[in-house]
């Protein structure tokens, strides 16, 4: 064990333990990652990422792309929606129900 003058330093103590070298390498690489992340994106890095994405996209265009379902052009669905008169009838029915409710309400209020 290394002389520590009585100071207990787990880092120093662990240096010569079996398996300590990979742990140090891991911690150093982690620190490097954190430091580079704290530095924020660089122009070079984002330009490279953009170039990589463009390369990948270009490579993709050589592959087949398929939409599993579409109804474009002549395949557009033609199922009917409620026609306007029907909507108008429905609205009229609702209004009629509403007004009869209103009438019965008035009636009950007016009844002795």
């Amino acid at each position: 064990m290394e002389e520590t003058n009585g100071f207990h330093d787990p880092w120093v103590e662990s240096r010569n333990r079996p398996g300590s070298a990979p742990r140090r390498t891991f911690i150093l690489s982690l620190l490097a990652t954190i430091m580079s992340a704290c530095g924020g994106p660089t122009t070079t890095a984002s330009a490279k990422r953009e170039a990589d994405l463009l390369d990948e996209a270009a490579a993709l265009s050589q592959r087949i792309s398929v939409d599993l379902i579409a109804h474009a052009g002549p395949f557009a669905p033609t199922f009917p929606s409620p026609r306007l008169p029907e909507i108008a009838r429905r609205s009229a029915r609702i209004c009629k129900q509403g007004s009869s409710m209103l009438r019965s309400f008035r009636w009950s209020r007016m009844a002795p």
């Binding site: 993709l60 792309s65 599993l68």
Partner: protein, 290 residues
């Protein structure tokens, strides 16, 4: 299609169109009357005849034809029926439709037809009917892809038990992420994947719920984690939905691979999702016909 870097699309003709409509009270599409005898076949036939003249030269009948058309920089159409309602219970119409050039058959749509129950109505048949089983066997024999979109969970179970080939669910979403009557449970999605099939992610984004394109991409992440990248596809349902979609035209299709790459997907994974997986199923079904 070319602007969106899209090579092929399964163009689907809605065959229960004359008898379904949007129910304004429930906000859903439902059957509102029974069809007249022969009505749905005649409707499909006349609309197909009109469509045919417009897409002549674009129709791909096999995976090799899709590749050949791509080599010539020509987009192509793989034909389908959304709902097998035009069969009207007649099995001999399956080879007839194959002869028209159909290579995909979606078994049901918004009407409980002769084949089985649907997702959006209470079940009537208890799953896949005997006629539905016959149709599954016939499509296997001919080398047509079965599309299980819209089928009830019990119908799905029957189709997966009966089919020798993988199937597709052309447009759906994982119910765990996107609550809708047309979404599928994790178990259903895994069952389609176990069969070797492909699940088409449906790019709906309901504005009222604040859903966005990012939600759609996140649902792709979810599906990929659930079933594996080999079983994920895209089904835009272009012009087929009145709900908001993040892919309103095929021009926007290119946003999907771009979005996935930006999320860290490998190019090989993106290639599978945007078409490679469908092509795998198309090949498998076509090569193992008979």
């Amino acid at each position: 299609m070319q602007a969106g870097k899209l090579d092929a699309a399964v163009f689907s003709l809605v065959t229960d169109g004359p008898v379904i409509r949007r129910d304004p009270q429930r906000g859903e599409t439902r059957q509102y009357r029974d069809p007249e005898p022969g009505e749905l076949f005649r409707d499909a036939q006349s609309r197909f005849e009109k469509a045919k003249s417009q897409i002549e030269g674009m129709i791909a009948l096999s995976p090799s034809e899709v590749i050949a058309l791509k080599k010539n920089n020509r987009p192509c159409a793989i034909l389908s029926h959304e709902g097998a309602d035009a069969l009207e219970g007649n099995l001999s119409r399956v080879p007839l439709f194959y002869g028209w050039g159909l290579r995909v058959l979606q078994l049901v749509h918004y009407r409980i037809n002769e084949l089985g129950d649907i997702q959006t109505e209470p079940p009537k048949h208890g799953g896949l009917t005997p006629f539905g089983r016959d149709v599954v066997r016939e499509t296997n024999r001919l080398g047509m892809i079965i599309d299980v979109a819209h089928v009830h969970a019990e119908t799905l179970r029957g189709v997966l038990a009966e089919s020798r080939h993988p199937v597709i669910d052309s447009h759906t979403r994982p119910a765990a992420r996107f609550q809708a009557s047309r979404a599928r449970s994790d178990g259903e999605l895994q069952a389609v994947a176990r069969k070797g099939g492909v699940i088409g992610m449906w790019p709906l984004a309901r504005e009222a719920r604040g859903e966005t394109f990012d939600d759609f991409l996140r649902d792709i992440d979810y599906l990929k984690a659930l079933v594996g990248v080999e079983h994920v596809g895209i089904g835009t349902d272009l012009n087929g939905t009145r709900t908001s979609t993040v892919i309103p035209t095929h021009k926007e299709f290119a946003l999907i691979p771009a979005g996935l790459l930006a999320r860290g997907y490998a190019a090989s994974e993106v290639a599978k999702i945007v078409g490679g997986n469908f092509m795998r199923v198309f090949r498998e079904v076509a090569e193992n016909r008979g």
